[in-house]
Symmetry: C2
Subunit: 252 residues, 2 copies
Amino acid sequence: MSDERIWTAAVLVIGDEILSGRTQDKNVAQIATWLDVQGIRLREVRIVPDVEEEIVAALVALRARYDYLFTTGGIGPTHDDITVDAVAKALGVDVVIHPTARAILERYYESRGGLTEARLRMARVPEGAELIPNRMSGAPGIRIGNLFVMAGVPHITAGMLDALTGELEGGAPLVAHTIGAWAAESEVADLLRQGEKDHPGVAIGSYPFFREGRVGANFVVRSTDGACVAACVAALRASIEAAGYAVTDGGI
Amino acid sequence: MSDERIWTAAVLVIGDEILSGRTQDKNVAQIATWLDVQGIRLREVRIVPDVEEEIVAALVALRARYDYLFTTGGIGPTHDDITVDAVAKALGVDVVIHPTARAILERYYESRGGLTEARLRMARVPEGAELIPNRMSGAPGIRIGNLFVMAGVPHITAGMLDALTGELEGGAPLVAHTIGAWAAESEVADLLRQGEKDHPGVAIGSYPFFREGRVGANFVVRSTDGACVAACVAALRASIEAAGYAVTDGGI
């Protein structure tokens, strides 16, 4: 338990392909996991279509509310890639060609047919932006103020997150410990409630599943204080065992 | 192309486990696909933590803006299941025990240790709600006004969606046709832009990938007018082939 500042983030997914059900989003989970290690809490995600006013409205709302805002998608070379324009509009700045981005793309496409007008779109940035290196393909990500503009393709975003590792100020990372039992969560609900009540500052998540013809649940105990997590896990474990269930450390 | 009413929906995912990166959301994609078949467009998704005021604020904003609002998560028997309370607060109604839900749970738990106080939590609904049958487990979903409260566990939500199939008023479903080519999307960007310009009412999405050491992209042509989609696909296909790329029908 501590009174230190908590750093927060939101993710804005820009993509008709997610909203149509065509593509399963993978960026939220990877950004969430990465933020956790940086000591930053992901507090909200929004997914909006490739419509400029929708993107702008979400950018304005989310960047004001959280310390950091990450966007994914819409930064490629095609007509439906409008994220940079939306970011510029949300910030009230112009869109310019970033000279370093242009040089990166020129080098990257030298042996790949040259830098066409469509490809040059990927060097467009809101005025005042810095680049986020992308070692997977030519096109860089963009950083401006508390806004981080990442790719839609998950392995490219992974490369950009790598480049940002340790660059963002964060707080104490959350410590989490999972235990599991072949018990219906309804049978241990009171024990969970008691565990949370007895250990202030700790949050217990309960995640039921149905596997091999049986019901079970995993319980994730979280806090920024590792000793607090350990004490709560020990107490919860003892109470679930006393109720007649074997407990598996690390979850089932 | 038609001037008919477009029906819209949003999904609100309630879940610390998604925001922590622990669980990969699967409900958005399945609800999106299901909505598509009902002739309803998914226009926005928000993911919020298990914090009542956050859930209430998102409920109020989204149900006013879209025809339908689906929530997932937070309807189990444990202390972190607060969706029903948040919905009741957002609508300004009380939480009551639904007699049919209670009867369903009594029957379901008859051979499973009986209906405990924790399990009875799953019969709590906002006053005035109807139930959405759930053939997978005892606990039903909830329907009240334009709000549909579904489970967090994807296969349970799938069962609830089945029960709702054909129940919601929708418009013309979107027709989509995908073609693919082993071309960098930057090489065909102009052709896509032209294809969209020449076929009003059609939207073309471009989805690049990197596979087997090569870059390629799939192009999804969408409209409510099937003839329009077919015409646009034929024109796009011809122009991509003219640029020297083989085109794969149905995508790569």
